[in-house]
């Protein structure tokens, strides 16, 4: 270890810290503002840290808005989407991976082609369809468009293809039905793929603004990102503290989940890069 090496390390570390500080600044500022009093936020001198930690903004955020409702909506929508995505994708993936039948390559071709289509492209006809069914402004409108996840089928098929054929033969000889094989044998073994897919799906839909902006106009149905915009547009620039407290509450679930399960989280989101 010579001194040139040490200096090099010091420079690299200093730059990395500087970059990390810049990246974390919005998070720091969000937390700082969420604990500051109104007077402190609007004072002409600016201080990095709040004078004292006070929870009034958080209380105000929950009392003056339906923040709790937004969170519950997010949970219902993300949970509903994930449930139906797996319900549709897993049996199909199992059939594509472990069964031979006519039309199999055609269906897999559809899956691959579907990966090319971003959701935005289908928005207008799906909106028309939901309007026709009188489903706009319901949870159904937020969940239904996403139940066919070609990405889910793709991931599950990759995982199930790698499983030994003998395993499924043995299960058939034991008299298990094909459905039971898919759910009781393939799914438990495909858990790593399922986890990665679940993380990808929940993060994507918890954070989505595009579709909630279109499909609902009732604030009582708004998932968190839509909800915080209702709040911001109503408060007209005076309630900065509670707004930041609401932002903290909305960002917290995904950030905490990420910090607790970093490896899985990064894997899930990196795998998402394969999707169009």
């Amino acid at each position: 270890m010579n001194s040139r090496n040490l200096i090099g390390r010091a420079i690299v570390l200093a730059l990395l810290f500087l970059g990390a500080m810049l990246v974390l600044t919005p998070f720091f500022w969000m937390l700082s503002l969420s604990f500051k009093s109104q007077a402190e936020i609007f004072s002409p001198t600016i201080s990095l840290f709040p004078d004292q930690l006070q929870w009034d903004n958080y209380r105000a955020a929950f009392e003056r808005t339906t923040l709790l409702r937004f969170l519950v909506n997010g949970l219902v929508v993300c949970g509903g989407i994930l449930f139906f995505q797996i319900l549709f994708a897993l049996p199909c993936a199992y059939a594509l991976a472990q069964r031979r039948f006519r039309g199999r390559s055609l269906i897999f071709g559809l899956v691959l082609a579907g990966l090319l289509v971003p959701f935005h492209v289908t928005a207008i006809p799906i909106f028309l369809g939901l309007a026709e069914l009188r489903l706009l402004n319901t949870y159904g409108a937020l969940i239904l468009p996403f139940v066919a996840s070609v990405f889910g089928i793709f991931l599950f098929r990759q995982a199930i293809s790698a499983m030994p054929v003998e395993l499924f033969e043995a299960a058939r000889i034991d008299g298990l039905s094909e459905g039971a094989i898919a759910w009781r044998i393939a799914l438990p073994l495909a858990m790593p793929a399922a986890t990665a897919f679940a993380i990808f799906s929940v993060v994507a839909h918890w954070n989505d603004l595009f579709w909630p902006l279109i499909a609902i106009s009732d604030p009582a149905l708004a998932p968190p990102p839509r909800g915080i915009l209702y709040f911001r547009d109503e408060e007209s620039g005076t309630d900065v503290g509670p707004l930041m407290a609401a932002a903290v509450v909305i960002v917290a679930p995904m950030v905490v989940a990420f910090l607790l399960a970093q490896r899985r989280f990064i894997q899930g989101l990196a795998v998402g890069g394969l999707k169009g």
């Binding site: 990395l16 990390a20 199909c92 579907g114 492209v121 459905g179 954070n207 932002a247 970093q262 990196a270």
Partner: protein, 300 residues
């Protein structure tokens, strides 16, 4: 008789397993795509009882009308800033963290988490925070600039500046994602290549980088380019939250234009044409990505 029963049962099983997903794919993806393509040649408005075929009129407006065209040019400018810079920073951070990992693995992991945080955080909520950071009078950024005697601009309402401000937020959000892809690529480079390079006389850091690291990262880099490009062309959340395409269309982008024309002004036909243009851009990138995947060039 038994044989027929069995083949029937098998066919029924296939139908039950693959049928629902196939129908859902057709109804939710393929039929809608065909409808959008058709609607883009009409003047259909949401709620109207009829429509007329207008040929390529919607596309001509999009290309010829200087205001409408801004959605396309802004998206390209935005992508042209975000793609190279977020890749460059992602690579630099990954190289730094990879070297720190050798002597301080815990510290490296903490820093990695910090850089990845914007990827996990809800972008709309963070955009509201950026709005406060960039507020012309109350924002932290302009306060810090004022301390250095610089008059900070109105970051989000200055026509000449707004797109660049959004690009900075886009880079902030993407660097961490690119970083983890590059870290995976770096971890896959076998150590003996560096030993061999050293024997060949590549001793200095940058020599090692150009002879081993950069060529070995080639496939990862291509993949990162395509993923970042698709992401940049989809920019929507920050625009919808912070500028609504304004001021005066200075930050209008394709996906926001789809939303505004279709769901605020109800011009379904015109919005479908914008959708098709957006689709073609994304399609080009995704096809490139599939080509890369086929040549076994991807994460892991």
């Amino acid at each position: 008789m038994r044989l027929i029963d069995r083949t029937r049962a098998e066919a029924l099983a296939n139908l039950w397993l693959a049928g629902p997903a196939t129908v859902a794919m057709l109804v939710l993806i393929f039929i809608p795509v065909s409808i959008v393509a058709l609607l883009s040649f009409t003047d259909y408005q949401f709620g109207a009882r009829s429509f007329n075929w207008v040929g390529f009129d919607n596309y001509l407006i999009l290309i010829k009308d200087p205001q409408a065209r801004r959605a396309i040019t802004n998206t390209i400018v935005y992508a042209a800033i975000v793609i190279p810079l977020s890749i460059l920073f992602g690579l630099l951070v990954a190289l730094g963290l990879h070297s720190v990992m050798r002597y301080a693995p815990r510290l490296s992991a903490v820093l990695r988490a910090a850089y990845f945080l914007p990827v996990a955080a809800t972008l709309v909520a963070m955009a509201v925070v950026w709005q406060m950071l960039l507020h012309p009078n109350l924002g932290l950024v302009n306060h810090l600039l004022a301390a250095a005697d610089i008059r900070g601009p109105a970051w989000l309402s200055d026509r000449g500046l707004v797109l660049y401000t959004l690009a900075v937020i886009g880079i902030w959000q993407t660097v961490g994602y690119n970083m983890v892809l590059f870290l995976a690529g770096l971890a896959a480079i076998p150590e003996h290549l560096y030993d061999a390079a050293e024997i060949d006389g590549a001793n200095r850091g940058w020599e090692r980088f150009w002879t081993v690291t950069w060529p070995m990262l080639g496939p990862t880099t291509l993949f990162v380019v395509v993923v970042t490009a698709t992401g940049a062309f989809r920019v929507f959340e920050t625009v919808a939250t912070l500028t609504r395409g304004g001021p005066a269309f200075a930050s209008d982008v394709l996906v926001y234009a789809i939303y505004r024309e279709g769901f605020v002004y109800f011009k379904a036909g015109y919005s479908s044409a914008i959708t098709m243009v957006f689709f073609v851009f994304v399609l080009l990138f995704t096809l490139a990505k599939f080509r890369l995947m086929e040549s076994r060039v991807h994460y892991r």
